[in-house]
């Protein structure tokens, strides 16, 4: 067992951060929807029902996407990640730009749909990357960790090298 701290954030820390972010984004959506519903009730009831459902779903997707992609692109940290002191970085060591952040949101949804199976690679990848990271070319690191840029470069395969860069 090595005493050196691994700079990449593991599955438990990321899960807690994701849970906090899910609660926050849902809270924002619920409060926003309630305010819009209150404002709408003053004008009149919205019909038909499918339109209400569609608007609600669109609002939910928009809120979630804006929340995650916005925070990742601007600071590299969502509030949950900030609380858990982890951040997402691109290959240049900076927060991912907007397009990469949007791809990461898509990857997040794809990782969640099969009962979070998209996060299983975090347990076996040398850089603890999940499906969103593979798609967007990012890694999630502990906020205080020192990380050389060459460590962020894409490697050849999922498990061909260990953390020290030596073939395994």
């Amino acid at each position: 067992m090595s005493g050196t701290r691994i700079p990449y954030a593991g599955i438990a820390t990321r899960a807690v951060a994701l849970g906090i972010d899910a609660v926050l984004s849902q809270g924002i959506f619920i409060v926003g929807a309630a305010l819009l519903g209150l404002a709408g009730s003053l004008v009149g009831e919205l019909r038909p029902a499918w339109l209400v459902a569609f608007l609600a779903a669109a609002g939910w997707v928009l809120t979630g996407t804006t929340y995650f992609a916005g925070f990742w692109a601007v600071t590299g940290q969502t509030p949950g990640m900030r609380l858990m002191r982890i951040r997402v970085v691109a290959r240049d060591g900076a927060p991912p730009h907007a397009a990469r952040a949007l791809i990461r949101v898509v990857g997040l949804v794809l990782a969640i749909i099969p009962v979070f199976a998209g996060f299983i690679p975090v347990l076996i990848d040398n850089r603890r990357r999940g499906l969103p990271d593979f798609l967007a070319g990012t890694v999630v690191v502990y906020a205080g960790a020192e990380l050389a840029l060459d460590e962020l470069a894409p490697d050849e395969s999922l498990v061909t090298r260990d953390m020290s860069g030596q073939p395994s």
């Binding site: 691994i6 700079p7 954030a9 593991g10 599955i11 820390t13 807690v16 347990l123």
Partner: protein, 215 residues
Amino acid sequence: MGLRLGGAAARIALRPARVATRAPVVGPRLRRAVFDLRADGATARIHGRAQLESAVAEVLAAPEVERTLDRMLAGPLTEALGRSLGEHRVVERLAGELVQSGAIEDALTAALEHEDAQRLFESALASPGLERLLATAFESRLVPELTDRLLHSPEMHAVLEYVATSPEVRRVLTEQSSSLADEMVGGLRTRTESLDDAAERTVRGWLRRPRPAAG
């Protein structure tokens, strides 16, 4: 002035006697006689004092004195004495003098530091009587009334207002709250990081892949 004149006259009158004591034949006899006379005088003085003391003690122990004192205290003298003490502020002056001199502080300190006081205090605390007394006091209807009056008093409102608006108190409360939150989040982070490693180690163990050694 009179005393001086009297002393000078006595010295002049005793001068022949002094001359006589220095005379060669009668001098030593006279000096011995003077010495004996002085010793007899001292003995008589001690005797006299002892007799006077026993006489005073006898007088004070007499039932007549006791009855007299009793009549005196039962009479208007006690009230007059009390009035006089009050008018002349004797108690306050005495207390002020004692406080200024530090005698009260010394006495209190000595009393508190005395081991008997410590024992007395401990036995008082351990006594069931005190417990009963306190229980009665707390169960008394006066307690809620007093608490109610205290809570509605302007002084309590002033204290609460001071506490609520005091920047120092608010700073301390903020520091306490933030440090508590920091501690909680720090503990959570430490645990999740341990879980990160444990989960990875377990899965890598199943796959027979070594755990990454370093970042």
